[in-house]
Chain length 305, copies 2
């Protein structure tokens, strides 16, 4: 599980590491970026928390690191940021590179069950288990017990579904000291979640239907396990606290790919699901840069005591 | 001189406009970006100042707008930012696209005198005259009398030489109310200058020698007119105030392409030439993003009363 460092880049007083490792879940070498803020030291008493950023369709781990400006606030707050890739690469599955919204660059953060994609398209296991285990093993500056998640578009879907709502229940219980502590030590359990322009109800939009049919086949119970709107319907615990931004000039919002209203409706009465619709903002990284401080700040409230 | 708007993108509360116009100096259509901060209105009593960002080799007007993070501070201060391209495009001059450091993407902000480049490679006139005239004509929200400039690498050279040091004398005189006011109304006269990793003494580095030989021929008096170190040697007026950042991990600095020490030496005793060498920073936009607030802040001190 060794990690190769391809570059070390100074950024906002900390270091952006361009890394790679051979991942067994995805059956290939995976590139990722890790931002270590200036507060990261090797002193186990001063470990920094981790915020995982899941990118959208066509992206790699580079887009958020270069254009999201999340490092700005993260360097002030002392938060590491993990930027994974969005799919396996180079598996030579027929059709893998044919579409921007399925296959490479479009792993949808699920474990595919359908042939041939089940060989390597295991991004759920990769993001929730193998990658954090690798990172925590290699970077002792990071505290495995303080991890949050956020993402954009397909990565917003990823953030909202990897957190799996049920997990948020556990987080709330943790506040009430009722939780099994062992559970929190597992990687992939998150202290908070936020999203930019998330695909909020993939079962009912073209992107999600294509991806879920391709990765799961026709079994819609499987689809529902990875649909944020379906998951939040089941929520019956303490109040949620989720921040979501969807710009009014987002073409994919207008085309019905994001469906935040479905998520809002399904989460009614279940806490603070703060879905903002900033006027004139589009689906691009310009929107994320503009509201980066808010989203990193949202995570900071849960990650930093 | 009409300007075509190709896109309007919300950014940090303002608008990033992707624009194009047919430029006579460069004999082609030129793309550029203009950031209008939220403070920009059509009220002539509340016009915003302008900061021009000159990009480096291989870049277009997009790089700084996407990865420089300059809009962050500009939106707070109420400063518009103009992001021009780095050369003419598509002139079909033989060899134009053969090298990354000469021809397209490498105009060096000079008016070429040598055939065939003198047909269109007139970036000095374009940046100091045609483009600002076009922008001020089209965007009445911008105050033509408050303009600053900065840039990166080749664009740092551009900023330091377009400002032409002599101009800084006039700026200082302006503070003493001694200046010909008519002069300040011309576009291309700047209130302040700063630079990231500027090519500070192009006559003595491989990039500059290649470019100046190609655009000017062997006449070194012409070279000296566009060499920041040569220009600052002539300075004999009130104290300068220039901010420059050169990272210690900048490979082009290490290779002797930037030569900031020559500029420091030539400017000794001539005011505050604050050349910082931040530890571990490289030549990339990650460095600019990290210190963007400082450079926009430097300009703001001169642009905002």
């Amino acid at each position: 599980m060794s990690v190769t460092t391809k570059a070390t880049i100074a950024s906002f007083g900390g270091k952006l590491l361009k890394l790679a490792h051979n991942a067994s879940t995805t059956s290939c070498e995976m590139n990722f970026n890790l931002y270590l803020p200036p507060q990261a030291t090797n002193n186990p008493l001063f470990r920094v928390p981790l915020l995982i950023y899941l990118a959208g369709l066509t992206c790699t781990g580079d887009n958020g690191a270069e254009k999201g400006f999340f490092q700005h606030k993260a360097s002030q707050k002392g938060i590491a940021i993990l930027y994974p890739d969005t799919s396996p690469r180079g598996l030579k599955i027929p059709g893998e590179d044919d579409a921007y919204d399925f296959g490479s660059g479009a792993g949808f953060y699920v474990d595919a069950t359908k042939e041939p994609w089940n060989k390597g398209y295991q991004m759920y296991s990769y993001i929730t288990e193998e990658l954090p285990r690798t990172v925590f093993g290699e970077f002792k500056q990071i505290d495995p017990e303080r991890v949050s998640i956020f993402g954009h578009s397909m990565g917003g879907h990823g953030a909202l579904t990897l957190v799996r709502i049920e997990t948020l229940l556990l987080l709330r219980l943790e506040e009430h000291r009722l939780i099994d502590e062992q559970y929190l030590r597992n990687p992939g359990k998150y202290k908070s979640v936020s999203a930019f322009a998330p695909i909020s109800n993939p079962m009912n939009c073209p992107w999600g239907e294509k991806a879920f049919k391709g990765y799961f086949g026709e079994d819609k119970t499987k689809w529902a396990e990875h649909d944020a709107t379906e998951l939040v319907k089941k929520w019956s615990g303490p109040p949620l606290d989720i921040l979501i931004d969807v710009g009014t000039a987002d073409n994919f919002y207008k085309q019905g790919q994001l469906l935040p209203e479905d998520f809002i409706k399904a989460s009614e009465g279940k806490g603070k699901v703060n879905v903002r619709f900033p006027d004139g903002y589009d689906h691009s990284y310009f929107t994320m840069a503009s509201f980066a401080d808010d989203h990193v700040g949202h995570a900071a409230r849960y990650l930093i005591a």
